[in-house]
Symmetry: C2
Subunit: 214 residues, 2 copies
DNA sequence: TATTTATGTTGTCGGCGAAAACATTGTGCG
DNA sequence: CGCACAATGTTTTCGCCGACAACATAAATA
């Protein structure tokens, strides 16, 4: 009997010494565990156990726990970029693009709260140490930057520095998303939280539109 | 020799069995450690060691680590309420109050980034389990709610639900504060980050002001 | 003074992140 | 074909942490 695990399992399914896809499976399981229990509760050992591999195997693919979280966050940024870009592409008017892209952003945060917290929260120690993460982050920001550029050049947005407008817009949607996730949006009126979020978004973005006398 | 610590220290300074102020000193040292190394790196054992008390003594004053963090966050909310209220009290015009209070809010976050992350980040497990924390949080929110109420009643703000306006304003300043703390405000122009923050704040809050035709 | 309550200590358990030393597999080069 | 080497996974171990149970001491109170 050359393989103990085989014997214990009682099957002859050949369990290779090398997993072959450990890195990806680690990311998958980590994402699942993240959604269940939150970011800081993730344990490399638990992941390894779940996958059925030794507790130090993950260190062959990630320098440490932080690096795994960074890779996870980078995936998140790429997905965030995708959904916001899609929403923007569905419209031509920059105002519409901004509003719908922002809405998609907030919806992403709502659909993946733990991932979103991981991406923007203080869980990852030194985010700037991970080029993949930085690159994914600025790519995601590029979406809103492009909208701002278009809005200013078409004269729809207030005529200020494009980077400033993009940052302001980003702040708004990020603020709404964060507070919503954290349950800070207590709706007092009959209309639900969701419509309140939309109204809040509209109020916020209104400050960006060009006004008479600009 | 009734006291080992006394013997080891070689002094007769009476080291009382009871510390007498352990709870407060724990909070103090925890705050200091928070500012140095961030929220999740805080260790009850390290705190106890630093204070010179056994590693389980903290559990006499806090049910667990989470409870200590919650108490720390509650302190933060009270301080945040203080600075924003002070900034608001220095003006009469609701627009000015909103702007300056928001600026004070952002400044607080900038001055106490780790504490701010603790207050709003995902570090504290079940915030709603701590009445002190919830109370401090809603008291802090009350500041901005009062400004919104005044602004609407005086006809300076757009005529919408007061709670909605307050939440929108809160989202804006929170978004700016969060992104600034996380180093996401990369200023591309000659003017520094700080003026960019102020401009961003103004753009955001502009959406709240009453407009012709409202 | 005697009892109860608040506070601090010792000892211990299980879990975790991480490193060192070792084992196995696949790969490319002679 | 065969062998060295790199990639990947394992075993073992260390130190740290949060948390609990049992015990010790001081303070308050009756």
């Amino acid at each position: 009997m050359s393989n103990l695990r085989e014997a214990v399992a009682g099957v002859d399914a050949h369990q290779p010494y090398h997993h072959g896809n450990l890195r990806n499976e680690l990311l998958d399981k980590a994402l699942a565990q993240l959604k269940q229990v939150g970011p800081d509760k993730i344990s490399l050992r638990a992941l390894a156990r779940e996958i059925g591999v030794s507790q130090t195997a993950p260190y062959r693919h990630f320098a440490d726990k932080n690096a795994l979280l960074a890779a996870l966050a980078a995936q998140g940024y790429r997905e965030l970029q995708r959904v916001t870009q899609e929403a923007a592409d569905a419209h031509n008017d920059p105002s519409q693009q901004l509003c719908h892209s922002g809405n998609a952003y907030i919806q992403f945060a709502r659909d993946n709260p733990e991932l979103y917290k991981l991406m923007f929260g203080p869980v990852i120690a030194c985010p700037m140490d991970y080029p993949e993460l930085a690159e994914a982050g600025s790519s995601a920001f590029q979406v809103i930057l492009n909208i701002a550029t278009k809005g200013v050049s078409e004269g729809v947005f207030t005529d200020r520095d494009v980077s400033l407008i993009a940052h302001a817009a980003w702040s708004m949607v990020h603020g709404i998303a964060s507070l919503w996730i954290d349950g800070m949006y207590k709706c007092t009126e009959s209309s639900g939280e969701k419509s309140m979020i939309l109204d809040s978004l509209k109020i916020s973005l209104y400050g960006i539109l060009k006004r008479d006398g600009d």
